[in-house]
Point group: C2
Chain length 466, copies 2
């Protein structure tokens, strides 16, 4: 093309078709997104490659700055962990604050055409994050005080699902919360998983950082949190596998996802073992890193393709990886860029979909308060009661409840999957984002109040870090 | 939106507008790219978020696999450095091979809608890469045998630009090579920069790896390569600043880019110094990494916004960063992911734009052979002659010529900037990509033949690595 182009006018507008320009494939076009938006909308926006690049670098700079800035404020003035600030930063950058105060500027910084890039960065970020969570997953978490751990984990699962079953008919009677295509069984399962999930990585970090791993509180929370999270993810997998209409989708999801999971955790684990041996010998060189990343991308691809989500692939591969030097160096090489650059993209993407102003309507405010109270009661309350009933003292039981109640990033991941797959609408999504932020914000001060202060006086607790 | 949605039909197709679906902003739409493609094309393709995620993970897995696979083949059977294989892998994945043999499969793996994501990944990759190059930049490279170094660097610059001046009228007489909006002065400068550029990072690595830093060949090549590359980038900056029509664009580019460069290298360097002190004290923690990444993204954003390119921002910031622990740990944390994951995205993006089949036409084959011969003559020939005339022995002079002649990744970066900004068309782009691959492929065997074998016999050369 362009070779035989006979015209040569000498002005830029007439350059031959072999030049990349505004009409080329790189140009992104986006609809406004409203229901009245026809496919052939006249007011279609155009972003040229040059603009895309400029917006991308500016946007990412703002995202990292907001994550660190709000994170620092939360650490400094509220004694909160960094991740809480980053969750809040994502919501702040979205329509709930930045978009409400400065709608034009917000639209200029986050034009619709660039959201697919944020989306992909977010997918890669949570996929790698769950890979790192899997990598740090330790079977010893399941050990510990068996009777109490069993009771805490079972009630931390059963009560949330029971609560979900009770609330679902009421929620399904309202428009725009659950997808009309969802059965009430599926809706209950999804809502139950949302209430039951725990910010396991955050919980594990708090416990390790404060030297509580060996205490009843530490071992109980770690084992119960791990069991509950595993259960919530399996339930989510069942919802995803059965949602979407016909049987072939469900068969593909179940056969693909569960078959692949069995392959990764069985023969996959053995296949990966030589990588661990190689790392012990010569460290994590670029060739080895490339192999691990290929395995990660393939795993994420298969789970995504089967109709589940990339995070399952990442987590499974992380669990199956050999431990030792390889796991340690993978964490050292991948964690910084994942946490500093990619996860803030996820928080922002999630925040751009959160419309907290919707919740301000009288009708939804009621739903929000009910769901918030129900979530706290079903998780904090149930875990506290189970620990008390199996003989733990009150501060320990309250401490366990406070930690198990934090939903953190894990909740945001489940909610984004639900929104992306069309299981829930923007309103329920926004309500549950608020629930995730509130329960995560509660965790540190609550834990300090009910357990930390006294334990520190007894000398059983390390200093608060980060 | 959707709150007051009165209809509730119970089928998925009619779910309220608050659900993300195929009509939402996440959906990417792409034109076919041909000149007859109207903005309101009926056959617009749609990629839903779920599909985008699946394609992204599959595509990236294939890209990393191809880069490592072809890289391994080139190392194992041709004795070439990894980067040569990765350049070839990018071309292989594009329309020149994969697309020629299996057009349908290639189009399914690289649908037009996903290319903006590859583009952004590539921009981030080369930006970070040039940041790392700047970080490794060492003023001692400019030292060494002054008379020879001066002669080699001046002829390695003057002869390529002279050659470009001679060839430009002939090339501009053909359609589709240079933009019609380009003056012959600008075209000569751009072509001259393309011929003059050296794969400096590759050259530096070969010289350091083989323990040649102290030899005449090492110090000469390093200083001449650094000077020539700096000159080529400045010339490119001038072309970019003056290309685009009116004076305001040029003023913005010159004031913005050169002003920012002065700021970064002057007060910026002092502002960054405390980061180095902090790193010496407590290493590169996540907070410090975030600050450096913000500075990098901001630098890339400013240079991009001024009408230059993100790579200038990355390189400048790298040069201005404090040395010591900070530089060492930044390299350790950022290099693996940049080299293993992001640069292959750049090579693939570049390869998708390369259409080597175009070159097969009789008319372009002639242009290709002339440009290839001219590039080799002007760089290899000129550097060799200058070294000989200033008293170097013949093997040393030939070795210098062989190393300076490799264009590598640097050439691909310049070419992609030229294509993106509309300075050159796909045909000249493809021809010069071939030139970059051929001159880079030549370097290692030529260096071995003219210098390496004898030097190794004399015990002056370390073993070949990588």
């Amino acid at each position: 093309m362009g070779v035989e182009e006979p015209l040569r006018t000498g002005v830029r507008a007439a350059r031959p078709s072999c030049f990349l320009d505004d009409h080329d494939w790189l140009t992104l076009k986006a609809d406004g997104g409203g229901p009245g938006d026809l496919p052939h909308n006249e007011a279609r926006a155009h972003v040229s490659p040059a603009e895309l690049s400029i917006i991308f670098f500016g946007q990412l700079c703002l995202i990292v700055a907001a994550a660190r800035g709000v994170g620092w404020l939360c650490r400094r003035f509220l004694g909160q962990p960094q991740v809480v600030g980053e969750m809040v930063a994502g919501v702040v950058l979205g329509p709930s604050l930045f978009g409400l105060l400065l709608p034009d500027l917000q639209a200029a910084v986050f034009p619709a055409e660039t959201k697919s890039i944020l989306f992909v960065g977010a997918q890669l970020g949570v996929g790698l994050y769950m890979f790192l969570v899997g990598l740090g997953f330790d079977r010893s978490h399941f050990r510990g005080n068996a009777r109490s751990a069993g009771a805490v984990s079972i009630s931390g699962m059963a009560v949330p699902f029971l609560m979900a079953v009770l609330l679902t008919p009421w929620l399904m009677g309202r428009d725009g919360l659950f997808s009309p295509g969802l059965s009430s069984f599926q809706a209950s399962l999804f809502l139950g998983a949302c209430i039951a999930i725990t910010a396991f990585p955050m919980l594990a970090r708090i416990i390790h950082e404060r030297g509580l791993s060996g205490s009843p509180l530490g071992s109980l929370s770690l084992s119960a949190g791990a069991i509950d999270d595993a259960a919530a993810w399996i339930v989510l997998a069942i919802v995803l596998a059965t949602f979407g209409g016909d049987a072939s989708v469900a068969i593909k999801a179940i056969a693909g996802a569960f078959g692949f999971a069995a392959l990764v955790l069985g023969p996959g684990r053995r296949l990966l073992r030589p990588l661990g041996v190689r790392a012990e010998r010569s460290g994590l060189d670029q060739g080895l890193l490339a192999i691990v990343l290929m395995a990660f991308l393939f795993s994420a691809f298969v789970m995504d393709w089967a109709g589940m989500h990339a995070v399952f692939g990442g987590f499974l591969l992380g669990v199956a990886m050999p431990r030792g030097t390889l796991a340690k160096e993978l964490k050292a090489k991948l964690e910084p860029i994942t946490v500093v650059l990619l996860l803030p993209m996820f928080f922002t993407y999630s925040g751009l979909n959160s419309k907290l102003d919707l919740i301000a309507s009288p009708a939804l405010l009621g739903v929000t308060l009910v769901l918030l109270a129900a979530s706290i009661l079903a998780k904090f309350g149930a875990c506290w009661a189970a620990a008390r009933l199996t003989g733990q003292d009150n501060p320990t039981a309250l401490g366990i409840g406070a930690l198990m109640n934090a939903r953190g990033l894990m909740e945001l991941i489940i909610l984004n999957i639900g929104l992306q797959k069309g299981i829930i609408g923007v309103e329920l999504f926004s309500i549950m984002v608020l629930m995730a932020v509130v329960t995560t914000l509660m965790a540190s001060p609550l834990f300090e109040a009910v357990y930390g202060r006294k334990a520190r006086e007894r000398g059983e607790l390390g200093a608060v870090q980060r």
